[in-house]
Each structure stands twice: as structure tokens, then as C-alpha cells.
């Protein structure tokens, strides 16, 4: 089959690789119909995340048709159309039983690596390094999906892929980020990063009752997309973010702030310059300007919610500021499984059309060019979807 593989820093390509096969009794094989490039794939593309190997198949946002099931699979049937959550969960461990699916204790066959890095082993993700399990990703014609009765969500056959594909990651991720803000009716929420996750965080904040949502970015097309759903926008290249938010909230600050940027933040100031230099010298991968600014801007006793990915150490971290303001932090990989069904209902009810974030539709063969375009934000690129079959 054809698959997109990582071939070194800033280099991906299409390779012919063996078709996936059932390796565990609870596996299924999916014939991929649609897959997308996620912002967090760009961290892999740029070589920011350790333990990715040349030849690894990327992609964790995908959907398709079940073509083969293992003998322990009871619920899923061949021929069903499914969306697959990006994180892999066993459904049986303490964490899964308590709905903390992204903390699954069993899905990662290489737990030692992440245990060294974080103290505990992390759950597995599709196409996201050997530290996160080493599972092949879904930017391929076929993909093996473990724990088939736990993860994949069956969707109606007649629904357009583009309406439901993002249930695999960015829609639940944006929604959980907003839910973590503990929004009360009329609250003000500020969202750093108006990329795909930011867009869903903005829309989810409104769905959960926010009165005002500020979107902070530098790309006019992304800010325009945010305005379409009622957000107010701040272009940080033009306006001072802190001063604007202070002014707009009467000196109080937003009730909650969402960092939908993560480790490759851009911005201005001493901290960003230092981060950039360290990143270039490969001594610190994370550039955390947006997170520091969110802590600075949020109101006292507010919430800072972090769906953006971080992987390493951050210095010049304003933790004293966070402590003295009594900020609550909520963060982490999304417990995607919790949100897929309820969000599918919202899509079916017409409350939201996730496909609005798509800017480009490509073939799998064009994915290498898509990665470059997405990284460089060329051609107003917001979100790339690849249709395979």
C-alpha cells in the first residue's frame, strides 16, 4: 500500500510499504477514506519530538471502512464506516474505566521510554513516535487499529467524510479545551492560536455559553474565520495582546485563556527571542510565549486551559505569577473517546459544521507538498484533508 512516511527533519514522502495485518485479537483493519494533517504532525515533521524513526507512517486523524476484524472484536462489523480517535485506549484499565482515555495504561507497547521522560508511561497515539507506542499512522491506504471495540465510532454511511473526520482529534480537542475552562454563561474566553484546534475551541466556547471570545493570531485568514462565528480578534503583530484584553475586560482579564498554540509559539519580546535561540541550538524544543502570555492575561482565579502540545522543559516560566493569581491549569491530551458521540450528535443536529476549517483538499501523493504548505502557512492554508478512496 502507499503510505506517507517520515524521512528526516522537514522531509516526508510517499512509500510503498507492506499492508497492515492483524497483530492482536482485538485489532481491526481500516481502509482509509479520508485523513488530515494535524498541527501536531508539524512538530514531528520539524523533528521536534524524539523517538520518531525514518520510515514511520504518520497521521492520527483518519476515518474509513472496516475491512477486517480480529477474533475478539464483538461490536464492530466489517463494512461499517468509522472515525478513529487519535489516541489508543484499552477500555479496561483504571484510567479508561474512569473516562481518562488519553491516560490509558496498557495501549503503549513501549512504556519505558515515556516513563523515563515523564515519570509515568503515556498512552499510545497513532503515528506519533515510538515513545507513544510506535503504532503506524493513518496517512496511508490502510491502517491497523488496536482495541477496535473501544475506539472507532460508527458513523452513518451517507454522511460526508468532511463533516465527521475531525471527530478523530481537533474537534474533541477544541471542545475539551473549552470544557476545561468551566465556562459560566456570559464568560469571556481568550484563545491563543486561531488554527484548527483554536477554531474549534472558539466555537465550543460559544456552545458552552461564553459571552465573548477573543481569538489571537497573526494570520488574517484565520482571524477572519474566527470572526465568522462571532469571535473578536486580536492580531498580535498589530496590537498589544495584554493591553487589549485588559481594556476590553475592564482591567479584569478574561475569565479563562486557552493556549491552542503549543510548543512552536511565535511572538515578540525577550522570552520569545531566548526560546527561539535555544530551539535553534536544539537545547530546548519548547517555545512557550503564548502560554506565558495567557498566564499574564487571565483574570485572578481564572483558568488556563492548554490543548496545545508541549514536550519538554520550559524556562522563564512565570509560575510565581500563576501562583499569586491563583490560576487553575487544565491540560493534556484529549480524552477523545468521551466526546465523539456527543459531538457527532451536535453535527447531526446542525449545530456545527466542522468542515468550515478545511482550506485544502489533496491526494495522498500531494501530502509532502501539503506538509510544506501547512508549515509555511502558504496559500492561506488552515487545514488539509486528503481523500483516498
Amino acid at each position: 500500500m502507499r503510505a506517507l512516511t517520515w524521512q528526516g527533519t522537514n522531509k516526508v514522502g510517499i512509500e510503498n510499504v507492506p499492508d497492515p495485518k492483524l497483530l492482536n485479537r482485538s485489532d481491526c483493519i481500516i481502509k482509509v477514506s479520508s485523513t488530515a494533517i494535524c498541527g501536531s504532525d508539524l512538530h514531528l515533521y520539524g523533528g521536534k519530538v524524539p523517538t520518531l524513526l525514518k520510515g514511520d507512517v504518520l497521521g492520527h486523524e483518519f476515518m474509513g471502512e472496516v475491512v477486517e476484524i480480529g477474533r475478539d472484536v464483538k461490536k464492530l462489523k466489517v463494512g461499517e464506516k468509522v472515525v478513529v480517535p487519535f489516541n489508543i485506549a484499552c477500555g479496561q484499565c483504571y484510567f479508561c474505566e474512569n473516562k481518562m482515555f488519553s491516560a490509558c495504561d496498557n495501549s503503549n507497547p513501549n512504556p519505558g521510554i515515556s516513563q523515563l521522560g515523564t515519570g509515568q508511561n503515556c498512552s499510545a497515539l497513532f503515528g506519533y513516535t515510538h515513545m507513544c507506542g510506535g503504532y503506524a499512522g493513518g496517512q496511508a491506504e490502510y491502517v491497523r487499529v488496536p482495541y477496535a471495540d473501544v475506539g472507532p465510532l460508527v458513523v452513518p454511511k451517507d454522511i460526508d467524510d468532511e463533516k465527521v473526520l475531525f471527530l478523530s482529534d481537533i474537534f474533541p480537542t477544541g471542545f475539551m479545551a473549552a470544557e476545561n475552562c468551566e465556562i459560566k454563561p456570559g464568560d469571556t474566553v481568550a484563545v491563543w492560536g486561531a488554527g484548527p484546534v483554536g477554531q474549534f475551541a472558539i466555537r465550543s466556547a460559544f456552545m458552552l455559553g461564553a459571552g465573548r471570545v477573543f481569538a489571537i493570531d497573526r494570520f488574517p485568514e484565520r482571524l477572519a474565520l474566527a470572526r465568522q462565528c462571532g469571535a473578536e480578534t486580536i492580531n498580535y503583530e498589530v496590537d498589544d495582546v495584554y493591553e487589549t484584553l485588559q481594556y476590553e475586560t475592564g482591567g479584569m482579564g478574561p475569565d479563562s485563556c486557552i493556549d491552542a498554540v503549543g510548543l512552536e509559539s511565535h511572538g515578540h519580546g525577550f522570552d520569545h527571542t531566548m526560546d527561539s535561540m535555544k530551539s535553534m541550538l536544539k537545547v530546548q524544543p519548547d517555545r512557550a510565549h503564548a502560554l506565558r502570555q495567557a498566564i499574564h492575561c487571565v483574570r485572578k482565579a481564572g483558568v488556563v486551559s492548554v490543548p496545545g502540545v508541549y514536550i519538554g522543559l520550559i524556562d522563564k516560566f512565570n509560575f510565581g505569577m500563576a501562583f499569586n493569581k491563583g490560576i487553575k491549569f487544565k491540560m493534556g491530551q484529549t480524552h477523545t473517546h468521551n466526546y465523539m458521540s456527543p459531538l457527532l450528535e451536535r453535527i447531526m443536529n446542525g449545530e456545527i459544521d466542522p468542515s468550515v476549517v478545511i482550506s485544502h483538499r489533496l491526494k495522498l501523493e500531494d501530502a509532502p507538498e501539503g506538509y510544506r504548505m501547512f508549515r509555511d502557512k502558504q496559500d492561506s492554508c488552515t487545514k488539509i484533508v486528503m481523500n483516498l478512496h
Binding site: E15, S26, L53, K54, G55
Partner: protein, 235 residues
């Protein structure tokens, strides 16, 4: 039993870094086989020195750069895992013969023994305070005193069970299977990638065991795993 640690932290780190560089050179260099072999041997020796903390040359000369304070463990329990099943279910599974590891023989109220990969393992079960989960503690008799480089390489070919086996047992109990990615699709690997794929687990496990187990062999001799378990069980 872990080899005696006689290399300090700085030297260990430097040995691992230099060993890694030499290994990369050995794998990727286009020099003669002899030169690559020499670089490879040096790399393995340095990696062994860094990962184990044991320098045979220091041992011969009676030297040590290690300043690690020796702490005497009260009970030498190697690893533990909290399984999301009640004690009765775990006990029933282990004694039923369903496990691919064979039948676990009960040697006391909550001690099980099993021989696996040439090691005698002891498993101690305890109900968690919530009554829904079970704490499994696992230990083993390591037949190798001061393992040589050849022993380590033999282990690398068939990774020692230790932490991996405990996690696999936990997965097996909770989900009925052990997750794997062996044999799945991937594109063309680099030499370094191939090395990592085959030896990564072993190296990680080696680092983990070195950072968490008592270092001094005399202490280990005083507290062999089996005795400490039985002591604890009897207490």
C-alpha cells in the same frame, strides 16, 4: 544481581554520550570493517560502562569515582503494578493455567512462583484499599552475578523480562492480550532506526533498572529477593 557501581554520574553520562557517538560512527561510517569493528567495540564498552556504572579497569585498580551514598533497602521489591481487577479475580487467573506464562504455583497465602526465561519469579498480591484493584509486586532471582558484556548482549537478543514482563502481565490480566507493534508496516529504516527498534527496549530497561535498584552487591547479597519476600510474607 547488578554489577558494582564504581563510576560517578558525570563519567557515566560522558561514557554514554561518547559511546553513542562511536556507535553512530561505527554504523554509518564507510571506513574499513576493521575500523568500524574497533569503533563498535569501543562504543559498546563505553555504553556498558555508562549504563551499568561499572568499570572493569577501575575494579582491577581498586578505584572508584562514584559518590552515590549506599542506602540499605528494607525490602527488596523490584517492581510493582496496580491491576484494575479485584484480588480474587487476579488470583483465580494466575492459578487457573490460562496464563501463557504457565501455572503460577502458590507458595503461601499470597506468594506465587514461576520459572520464566531462566529466572525464578515471585509474585506477591495485595488487595488495594479500594477493594477493586490489586497490587502486584514482582521479584526474581537473577542467576548472573556481575554479568559480563556477553551476558548483556545475550539479554539484548532475548530481552530480560523484568519491567516489560510485569507490564505485559498487567495488560494481559486487564485486557486479555499484550499490545504489540512488532511486524507492522513501516517504510525504509536507517541503520540507526534499525538499531533503536531492536535494542531500544533493552537500553531503556537497563537505564531504568540502574536508576532504581540498589547498587551495592553486598547489600543485594544480604537481601536476596526471595528471602525478603518470604520475610515480608511471614511478618
Amino acid at each position: 544481581m547488578a554489577p558494582k557501581v564504581n563510576v560517578g554520574t558525570f563519567e557515566r553520562t560522558a561514557s554514554v554520550v561518547l559511546g553513542g557517538l562511536a556507535l553512530t560512527q561505527a554504523i554509518s561510517s564507510k571506513k574499513s570493517l576493521v575500523a568500524r569493528g574497533a569503533a563498535g567495540s569501543t562504543a559498546l564498552a563505553l555504553l556498558w560502562r555508562g549504563l551499568s556504572g561499572n568499570c572493569p579497569a577501575y575494579s582491577v585498580m581498586g578505584m572508584s569515582s562514584s559518590k552515590t551514598p549506599l542506602t540499605k533497602p528494607q525490602t527488596w521489591i523490584e517492581r510493582s503494578a496496580l491491576v484494575n481487577l479485584p484480588l480474587e479475580e487476579v488470583t483465580a487467573y494466575l492459578t487457573s493455567g490460562q496464563s501463557p506464562y504457565g501455572i503460577f504455583v502458590s507458595t503461601g497465602s499470597d506468594i506465587f512462583e514461576i520459572e520464566m526465561d531462566g529466572r525464578m519469579w515471585m509474585i506477591n498480591l495485595q488487595a488495594h484499599a479500594d477493594g477493586k484493584r490489586t497490587l502486584i509486586r514482582m521479584s526474581w532471582d537473577d542467576p548472573k552475578d556481575n554479568p559480563s558484556l556477553l551476558d548483556i548482549l545475550a539479554d539484548a537478543r532475548e530481552p530480560a523480562p523484568r519491567i516489560i514482563a510485569l507490564r505485559e502481565l498487567k495488560a494481559l490480566l486487564e485486557t486479555g492480550e499484550i499490545p504489540t507493534v512488532e511486524g507492522q508496516s513501516h517504510g525504509e529504516r536507517s541503520n540507526l532506526g534499525n538499531f533503536f527498534e531492536h535494542f531500544g527496549d533493552f537500553i531503556i530497561e537497563k537505564i531504568q533498572s540502574q536508576t532504581s535498584l540498589p547498587d551495592d552487591p553486598h547489600i543485594n547479597e544480604d537481601f536476596p529477593a526471595k528471602q525478603s519476600y518470604l520475610k515480608e510474607a511471614n511478618a
